[in-house]
């Protein structure tokens, strides 16, 4: 096959396929791929690798184990068929954009660490004028964090702001869940660390599909790429690059969201953090961000204010009233339940501490908690009880 004889758009597609194939080689990261593709077409590079030849500047990057890596590439290149990859990408409706092409997002053009290719499915949200806000946080979140992420996701989408998140468990999923709960809000943008055909984590499969069908999914990883240790920090930098504003809902002190924060700082994106209880480990990192100068995000207004400071204004000036994504009764039926709810406060509480606070007998309290759990006003997480808000925001 020779790509040179084809028409212009066809040749572009062929090059896309070779870029995808290159990125799929074992141990291929953005930096190595970039060095391979300087002033060379993907097709040229691929042919070189198939013969075990790589450019000088790439060899310099590979370090001591270079012959091993190149050998691995050569072996993999003999197996991978870029044509088949192309067919697969076309089946999925996946588009590829590379630096210098029309579809490549402008934010990434000026990025210090731009992806060599950008795989995407769904509506293109990066060319329209919609402002984008990243809502991120820990996978091991509290009920409070989930509630706030849902609320922010929902209110931002209703205000016409694209919610950008990483489709991880916990806060990421809650933020997108909130955004999807708005019927005609701004569509969500998911940035993932694996190939677009590799759903990770599997628990998010349904959410993944909904984001792809209503909004957009993007990744710098080629189809078929599974999760690796480094792909999530790498994804975080793209989240930071694509968003106009970053909101951290809940993060542990050394959590992965802190990578996103560092990446956002490098790219001059404003950072907001949701204040949390000082005794909650899940809020340790986000509270520290506040102490270090991040703006507090106490609601959608704070986020929209931060957006306007960077020259982005959402489609609708004021957020609309939207129904809560969680259907909860406003007031509990039984007066005892009201007392229990009152005593509970808004942080996770152990049943022992709750019994101490509301001075009820164990059977009376047990019955009240069971009623509250049935109505959805209280959830239990690993033995802790936590109040859910019915009318968040």
């Amino acid at each position: 096959m020779s790509g040179e004889e084809r028409s212009e758009p066809d040749r572009d597609r062929i090059h896309d396929a070779y870029v995808a194939a290159l990125l799929g080689l074992p141990g291929m990261g953005p930096a190595r791929a970039r060095s391979l593709l300087v002033d060379r077409s993907p097709l040229e590079v691929w042919r070189g690798i198939a013969r075990g030849r790589v450019p000088k500047e790439t060899e310099a990057l590979l370090g001591a184990r270079r012959s091993e890596v190149i050998g691995g590439w050569r072996a993999a290149a003999a197996v991978i068929d870029p044509e088949r990859l192309l067919v697969r990408m076309e089946e999925m409706g996946m588009r590829v954009s590379r630096p210098g092409q029309a579809g490549y997002p402008t934010q990434l053009v000026e990025d210090p660490d731009p992806p060599v290719a950008f795989f995407t499915v769904g509506t293109d949200l990066l060319v329209g004028g919609l402002p984008r806000v990243a809502v991120v946080g820990t996978r091991r979140c509290s009920g409070y964090g989930t509630d706030v992420a849902i609320q922010l996701g929902r209110d931002l989408a209703a205000a016409g702001v694209v919610v950008v998140s990483g489709l991880a468990l916990g806060i990421d999923a809650a933020a997108h869940g909130g955004a999807l709960a708005v019927t005609d809000g701004a569509p969500p943008l998911g940035v993932v660390g694996t190939g677009l055909d590799v759903v990770y984590p599997a628990a998010n499969r349904a959410l993944w599909r909904r984001v792809a069908s209503t909004g957009q999914l993007v990744s710098e990883m080629p189809p078929g790429a599974g999760p690796t240790r480094w792909c999530f920090p790498a994804r975080n930098r793209i989240i930071a690059a694509l968003a106009h504003v970053l909101v951290v809902v809940e993060s542990h002190a050394g959590g992965g969201s802190m990578h996103t924060v560092t990446a956002a700082l490098e790219r001059d994106r404003p950072i907001l953090a949701v204040p949390g209880p000082i005794r909650s480990p899940a809020s340790e990192g986000s509270n520290r961000l506040l102490a270090e100068g991040a703006a507090p995000a106490c609601g959608v207004d704070d986020v929209i204010c931060a957006l306007s400071l960077v020259g982005q204004s959402p489609g609708s000036a004021t957020p609309r009233e939207v129904p809560s994504p969680v259907d909860l009764p406003g007031v509990p039926a039984d007066p005892v339940d009201g007392t229990v709810l009152e005593a509970m406060g808004w942080s996770p509480i152990s049943p022992d501490a709750l019994a101490e606070r509301c001075r009820l007998g164990p059977v009376e309290l047990g019955a009240a908690v069971a009623r509250l759990r049935r109505s959805g006003l209280v959830i239990e997480t690993r033995g802790f009880l936590e109040r859910r808000s019915g009318s968040v925001g």
Binding site: L207, S280, P362, V363, V369
Partner: protein, 505 residues
Amino acid sequence: MLATVNAATLHGVCGHLVRVEVHVANGLPAFTVVGLPDASCREARDRVRAALVSSGLSWPARRITVNLAPTGIPKAGSVLDLAMAVGLLVACEEIEPESIADLAFLGELGLDGSIRPVSGVLPLVDAVEAFGVVVAPGNQSEASLIATQRVLGVGDLRTLVRALRQEAPWPAPEVVPTRAEPVEGPDLSDVRGQRIVRFALEVAAAGAHHILLVGPPGSGKSMLARRLPGVLPDLDPADALEATRIRSAAGEDLPPGGLNLRPPWRAPHHGSSAAALVGGGSRTMRPGEVSLAHGGVLFLDELGEFAPSVLDMLRQPLEDGTVRVSRSGGFAEYPARVLLIAAMNPCPCGGSAAPGGCRCPAAVRARYVRRISGPLLDRFDLRVGVHRPEPSDLLSGEAGESTAEVASRIRLARRRAADRGVRANSELSSRALEAAAPLAPRAVRLLEAELHAGRLSARGLQRVRAVALTMSDLAGRDVPLDSDLVDTALGLRIDPFRSEGFDVR
């Protein structure tokens, strides 16, 4: 010349009658023991010879054969020493055969001729058929606990021979203290806060429901567990005897009063082997911890650290209340009716259990939890989270109820259970439960919903019902069981490892 002496040997926790036959004949001097003696039993030859010589008695330079009948049962230990010595003396016509006809002899000999106590004297005495039993003075009070026979405590061989020859009276029995003061255990009033866990413990004690405490280190799981035996009522006479018998068989010290009146408390280390936990051993079978805790409390701390195979061995004893251990040398059956209390961390990191407080990845947590098999987890009627108490509770919280107060409520609840013909509600069969614990319509609807949602199994349903009945007993309420009791029983049966949370799908 032939002599036959009554004695007994221990097999499991039961004694077996052994007749020690001693034959002295002309021939080259030799001393043979036959009839399946183990090594320590065969060593009796040397102890008997030295003891006789030290006591100033003659040693026959003739051919001595000792047979331990029935010959099919393996005999272990030194309990037959005394019987062999006495048999030899009779065979050598030092003692009249008539003087020992109605007696049995249980004891180990020292080289100086002293008679030493042996373990398991209670079941041993139970096994012999004789008018009187001669034991070491150290065994006398223990032997007297059940003996229908006259128990004679004798300190050394010379005294014994003189008494048998009727040259001197039998030594006076040692003064036995009638009843020991109950040993003061840790008191429940030391526990601050923790109201729900305390309540769960009370329910566990009242209904003999197995209980699992899940909480991070430092939350007081062990402290709470240690206070459980204190609230249990005294053992009834039959149980006390059985518990004493097991302790005696295992060679453990008996309480000062002799009978084991208080429920035992056993806390085996998580490194324990299967044989240590359920009983067994290669040749001499020994009761395991689950039997030693019979009638009382078995505490398994760090449940997640026990070998899963060892834990699963507990399932059958927990169900049946007995352990049957089979070995090549035979089998033994041990009673094993325990109240199981177990404690474990929610995950290996030991961090706070509060949402977001654990550093373990979900996979690590899942692996830790999988060490506890579902069927074992199902045996716990009560599963509660234990949380570190609030600082305010520790500093200013008022002291909780004392052990005595809780124990009195538990006695009342147990009395109600006794009216139903069982020791505690957990022993009720499903049919008896059906009759004893009718449900109010609201409670029925509640349980139906749980069953339909798949959160409750048929077995779980029975357990919830029994727990609700115990709570009703504790509160002095009457059946039918209302929904609040059922709700609370369900609430004390959490899956401490799963989070309910809100899932966005």
